[in-house]
Symmetry: C2
Subunit: 732 residues, 2 copies
């Protein structure tokens, strides 16, 4: 008995000891964190909510008020002061680092002692009419000095005199019509065009392509007589007339404009117009147009002014001996500009960058452009800083940028992209642009790369509609109701990225997934470009507060979209980029470019032009995208290297569409899927290489050669899409 | 007493239970593997030893024997058969995948029914002398058909007739001397040059730069009368005369030559010479030279033949009426070629690639070029396969490549690089080249990027010397003794990478760290280019077995170096790339390029040329490299993401030296630190942009403009080095 009892006791003992040890072992095994890398979804969701909630209308109002009191043109003292203030405040908000990054770029200012203006001169050379030298200053700003008058930055200097010719919008096709159909030669003439359709620098395309025909001194007036509800007749649009095609600073194309950087001479600089150019208000335009002679142009050449449009050349009847003279004394000068760059270091992947960038420089006060956007960035930084103080830190690094000299050709953002090209190419996940946050009072407008579509939809479902009477309605629903994608799909419309803002170098040159969001007008009813006071002195704080967004809820919604995109791109364990959406878009674009070509079925047959290689590449891409998407579902998320490998494939997808050789004649536009056409700088074109080659067919003297170029561009596009598909297949 | 005893017992119990639990917990905690990522150094070292030991002389001998029995020119049936055999054997060796990758590229073959030859014709047009149509076939190969006769691939067709002119090596400076000093016009002449100094395709440089002066039909004979010990007088060097500058297939520059790819016409192809070119043996050269008239050239123009060198034009005395006629009927044709690509999937980082590539196509048998190299690759694959069967798998993916059509302009390797450019740019760690493994019997020769220096030294200390009487001596010691780096450092000499083999697209276009190793001659005593039988029919298996490496130990040593580099690059947890070595090399190169410029101190002063910005950038880079090196020491190697972040910085360092805009006029040469000069295609130049700009000063009509280009190139170099330094700083 006793031995038995001892035995049982021993057995009992051993069982207990073993059990205890094992329970300890097992608890120890599991207590050890497998990996700091595994995302805590609950936390992340909670942080997103806190981040969005922290974004406040009052704060945005204050930021906008504070940064629109004084004119702050690029290169001026005041714009540097604002940069310093932004730097200080971002530091106070809690960013890990904030620095000023200067570049010395070519800017262009009117000569203060010799104002620019346009005159009508009589046969004795006496000025019988002079255009206004400045816009009437809006109420409340009468004491402000340093308001730059309307001008065309980088215009050539000169005082050309000649007959006036009216050329509609000044597009390639308008010039062709004028010359070929109407038989009017513009050599030596002063050309007047109406505002719209194309970028204001594009007339250089015409002067370049026509060579000697226009070199004397034809010029072009940018009359702004859009039917806006509040641009006075004395108001006019400032703007640059460069033809940069993404080169950045005209004197240092391809390289950052640092102190040691080699600068081309002005003659060899990129995109500088050779002719004088000047913008005028519609009062002055009426004066110039009302006595014009020549033929009556077709109806679609007639603008909204109360004059009988005529093409010229010159004036009619009693005014025949009068000429127009331009007096342009604008100076180019290398000037220091300052970007402000702030960073939040990523906790797990410090070498992956999500960028939120927008410009700070304004033509005058910048009430809308750009400070409505800059105020939104400022508030995003403040909200992120609050989160940091609560212990949050994003998985990836976030970079905030306040760009300088956007108005002079996207210079600050492009120089920084050139300076950091290697780092960005290897490490940038996405670039979200933050120019003007509002251009209308209707609904959201998003332009982005296809891989961001899904993220934009998911995020806007978590943001509230800012519209009166839509309490409890999501921004997604509000937007969907107002701007459905009708033909393509039942979802809010998302457009292609075009150009004309700071995302350009990041998206079109470097191939970084990019997007932009703002509040916009109803395109069906409001047909003017941009918004009426665009680039005028009337872009003030008050115009936002009184008209565009009195509650500042629209700007808050835009801030939540821009900020939310950055938050989720920086924080999600798996990058929220959707390969299937890219595949669907490529399919759509390949169909529509092929349809465009099919307008010439006979020539396509004759020259053996086929889109089959492109369609086949798109099918291949679609298959790879679907397979990739499936592999994502079975990914072992606990393995940090496996996660990184797939995230790298996602990050580099956009990069795969970059052709290092660039688009024809445009070495800094390198995105084969998205870029502006050579014939319209603002709008984004899909397959721009093929598009331009097709565009050139109509005007080519050698159709075989022109179609050969189409074939070459189809081949380049097919190769690029195939190569992109390869980046999505398993790496080995 | 009892309660006290119970209490003690309870306490005792609790202590035991707690202790047991804790020991269980602690054992459980530590028993769990922290991370599969942590390298077991012992295992890795053991595997390296096994890998090197498995590489066998007998096997290399057999591989070489097997692949040199028949001529296997690119594009021929036999070269496809060898490709299929290599594929089959690599599969048998155990690679994870092996595939054939075809491209359709422009090749060039003699016309079988109209042979190429050179004649001397008398005044009646009768051919009084004809050069030989083929080389005498070496012993044992008398029954072999399909031996292509010596020719210049891609030569223009034609039968030009004219006076002979002798132009030394045919360098830019030789043509200048002939024309400017000696007053001889080569227009319409047949030009004869001696072999050496420059690449055989470079005469196009002259014809291009002089424009109309040479367009009639001057041509050039490549006489090969190098003083080799065993090239018979009837032997001559085959070779291509393209001027590709890295473009790959001349009809599809920048894109892979796939079925759907757009092809330029022959007129628009890249680098195709406009003039007939033909190589001759020294027996034929003596016939052409012996009766030449004209002046006696300077002594440094005299070659090794037993004739009295004269410049021409034409023959002397009784032979005056005789002319030289070239009969060239070579055809260009688009032809299918095949690369063989084998892979071992990386265990932890499948998306990081280490490449070992060398070509398979040969002019005839390829006993040395390239099969001595291909046999070495084959043996490396076999050894790696053995390791795989023992359970080894490298950390990263290894890619083995058997390239086709290297002899026709590096076509196979370049097309594959173009096809996979995006993947390679994002994922390739290093490229090790495997052309001819032996060109002499003296010692090791290594050309590589500076970041590989340290790895090469470390590895060669673990490889045995192959030399007789050096048992127990390492390859490093044997090499060091024979070729010390004298002026620079007390270590074996390592040279810059030049061009002329398949690493070109990987290193100079894509910026992938690259290196090559082979056994070489004693450069101090053996001054001929390459080796005497280079590109002749006499490159047989026997020449290796009888002369170059009877024991096959030298080839084994080369295999161990090439294979060992690949092994360590693929296997090491931290990439074995040395940033400090790059810094030291940059310093050296910046000093020497500045010294080159200092030959014109007056002009440098006059035009304000300074190297300070470059020196400053190199100092900046050096600081960043040192700091990076220090951070590596304190890296937490247990954190897979931290390790990956730093490895990425190491991998992308070489990429940082790539300028997407390319070197001036050479869009596919994009490495700012290393590329051949425009004036010598084989040798690697450091800072080639600056070098070429300085070279052009002597011949420029506008020195100010020429010095402006030097300044621009210094600025580009300084920027590139600064940008590279940025990639080494902490990422956020």
């Amino acid at each position: 008995m006793r031995t038995e009892s001892t035995l049982i006791r021993w057995i009992w003992w051993i069982v207990v000891v073993t059990a205890l040890f094992f329970s300890g072992f097992i608890i120890g095994w599991f207590a050890k964190p497998k990996n700091a890398n595994i995302e805590d979804h609950k936390d992340s969701k909670q942080f997103l909510k806190e981040f969005l909630d922290e974004i406040q209308t009052d704060q945005i109002r204050q930021h906008l008020r504070k940064f629109t009191r004084l004119p702050h043109l690029a290169g001026t003292e005041q714009n540097l002061k604002y940069a310093e203030q932004i730097k200080r405040e971002w530091q106070e908000f809690g960013l890990d680092s904030v620095e000023m990054v200067p570049y010395d770029v070519l800017l262009s200012y009117p000569n203060k002692s010799q104002p620019n203006y346009i005159s009508i001169v009589d046969h004795l050379g006496t000025e019988v009419f002079n255009s206004s030298l400045a816009e009437p200053v809006p109420q409340g700003y009468e004491d402000i000095s340093d308001i730059v008058p309307p001008y065309s930055a980088f215009s050539a200097k000169g005082q050309p005199e000649g007959d006036l010719v009216y050329v509609n919008y000044g597009r390639t096709e308008d010039f062709f019509q004028l010359e070929r159909t109407m038989g009017i030669n513009v050599t030596g003439k002063i050309v007047i065009v109406r505002y719209g359709k194309i970028f204001r620098g594009e007339e250089r395309h015409v002067s370049r392509s026509k060579g000697d025909h226009y070199v004397l001194r034809p010029s072009r007036l940018l009359g702004c007589w859009c039917p806006g509800w509040n641009l006075p007749g004395g108001g006019a649009q400032r703007g640059n007339v460069l033809n940069l095609n993404g080169a950045g600073d005209p004197l240092t194309p391809g390289y950052p404009a640092k102190e040691y950087t080699y600068r081309f001479s002005l003659e060899d600089g990129v995109g500088l117009p050779k002719i004088p150019v000047h913008p005028i208000g519609f009062h002055d335009a009426v004066h110039l147009l009302k006595n014009m002679g020549g033929d009556i142009p077709p109806n679609n050449w007639k603008g909204g002014l109360n004059v009988s449009y005529r093409t010229g050349p010159g004036f009619m009847d009693d005014f025949k001996s009068q000429k127009v003279r331009m007096n342009i004394h604008t100076n180019n000068q290398v000037t220091r500009i300052y970007n402000v760059i702030g960073k939040i270091r990523g906790a797990l992947e410090p070498d992956r960058y999500v960028i939120l960038g927008g410009h700070r420089d304004a033509w005058v006060f910048g009430g809308i452009d750009p400070m409505s956007g800059a105020a939104v960035v400022h508030e995003t930084v403040r909200s992120a800083g609050r989160l940091l103080s609560k212990g949050w830190r994003p998985r990836r690094t976030i970079i905030f940028a306040s760009w300088d000299a956007e108005e002079f050709g996207l210079l600050g953002s492009t120089e920084w992209a050139e300076d950091n090209a290697k780092l960005l190419q290897e490490r940038a996940v996405a670039y979200i642009n933050a120019d003007s946050a509002i251009e209308g009072m209707y609904t959201l407008r998003v332009d982005c790369t296809p891989s961001l579509h899904t993220l934009v939809y998911n995020l806007t479902k978590q943001v509230a509609s800012p519209e009166e009477g839509e309490e409890g309605v999501s921004l997604y629903e509000s937007w969907h109701k107002r701007d459905n994608w009708t033909n393509d799909r039942d979802a809010p419309r998302i457009s292609k990225l075009g150009s004309g803002s700071d995302f350009e170098a990041y998206f079109i040159r470097l191939g970084i997934a990019a997007g932009r969001a703002r509040y916009t007008k109803n395109k069906k009813t409001e047909r003017y470009s941009s918004y009426p006071v665009y680039h005028s002195v009337y872009e003030t704080f008050e115009i936002v507060e009184k008209f565009y967004d009195p509650s500042f809820k629209r700007l808050r919604a835009v801030a939540q979209v821009r900020g939310g995109l950055v938050f989720l791109l920086a924080e999600s364990q798996l990058l929220p980029l959707d390969t299937n959406e890219y595949a669907d878009s490529l399919w759509k674009y390949s169909q529509s470019i092929a349809q465009l070509a099919q307008r010439n079925p006979g020539e396509m047959e004759l020259y053996g032009v086929s889109f089959e290689s492109l369609f086949s590449a798109v099918r291949n891409f679609t298959f790879a995208a679907r397979q990739f998407h499936e592999r994502l579902q079975t990914l072992n998320r606990a393995d940090p290297l496996q996660v990184r490998v797939m995230n790298d494939q996602l990050m580099y997808l956009e990069r795969a569409f970059i052709d290092p050789l660039g688009l024809p004649g445009r070495p800094f536009y390198r995105h084969v899927i998205f870029a502006p056409s050579s014939h319209n700088k603002y709008a984004g074109e899909s397959f721009p290489g093929i598009y331009d080659a097709l565009f050139d067919i109509a005007n080519s003297a050698n159709p075989k050669e022109a179609w050969e170029e189409v074939k070459r561009q189809i081949s380049v596009a097919a190769f690029t899409v195939h190569a992109a598909a390869m980046t999505l297949t398993p790496p080995a």
